[in-house]
Symmetry: C2
Subunit: 101 residues, 2 copies
Amino acid sequence: MDEIFKALASEPRRRILRHLAIEPMTVGEIADNFEMAMPSISRHLSILRAAGVVREQKRGQYVLYMLVADRLTAPLYDFLTDFSEQAREIVETRPRRRGRD
Amino acid sequence: MDEIFKALASEPRRRILRHLAIEPMTVGEIADNFEMAMPSISRHLSILRAAGVVREQKRGQYVLYMLVADRLTAPLYDFLTDFSEQAREIVETRPRRRGRD
DNA sequence: TTCTTATTTAGCTAAATAGCAAAATAATAA
DNA sequence: TTATTATTTTGCTATTTAGCTAAATAAGAA
C-alpha cells in the first residue's frame, strides 16, 4: 500500500498510467509522450512494476507494458473506505480476489 | 493534485488522516498515537494543511485539526475516473462544488 | 509580571528521489 | 559474424524529505 502511494506521488508516473489505461505500449511509445530521457522513463516503469500496477511482457526486442487496473484501483478504494461511504459500498460488493499477488 | 498525492505518500500522514476521520484532535492528542517527536507531527500536519485535506482551528492555546473529507476524496475519485467505471459514476453524480478553494 | 503548557519554526544530518549521460544487455537485421 | 535498435543498469549530481533537538511564539495560570 505504501509502495503504491509512493508510486503515485509523481506526476510523470500518474501520466504513464493514464497512457496505459488507453492501451498497452512499449517503453519507446511511452517515452514519445514525454520530454524525459528514456532511462528515466524506464526507471519510472520499474517503480510502477514493483508496486504491481503495471506488468511487462517481452515482445521480441520490445517490452510491452500494460496496466493492471485492479492493483491500482483496489488499494485506493480500500484507503478511501475510512473517508467515504461510497468507497465502503464499492469495497463491500467487490468480487473476491482472482489473481496471484 | 500533485500536492495531495505527495501528502498521501507517507504512512504517518495517512495514519493521521485516519485518526482525524474519527474526530477532530489537537496536535498533542494526535502525537500521543505516534512514537514521533511532536515537531515532526507538526510538520506532517502543515503538509496536510497545505494540501488542503485538513484545516486548523485555534482553541485557546491548543490547535484543533480536523479533516476536510471532500478535499481528500474528490481528487482521488477524479484520478480514479481514468481507471474505474465506478469512479466515473461517482464523479458524474457529484453535487456541485460548495466551498471556497 | 513570571511560569508553564502547546505548538511551530529553525537548523541540522541522513537518506531517498529524480534526472542525466554513458555503459551494459538483449534481440533483430545484415 | 558485425551492426543496429530497444531497453535497462550504472554512476553521478542536485534536490527533496524525514526525522531530531533546541529555540521561538502564543496562550493560559499564578
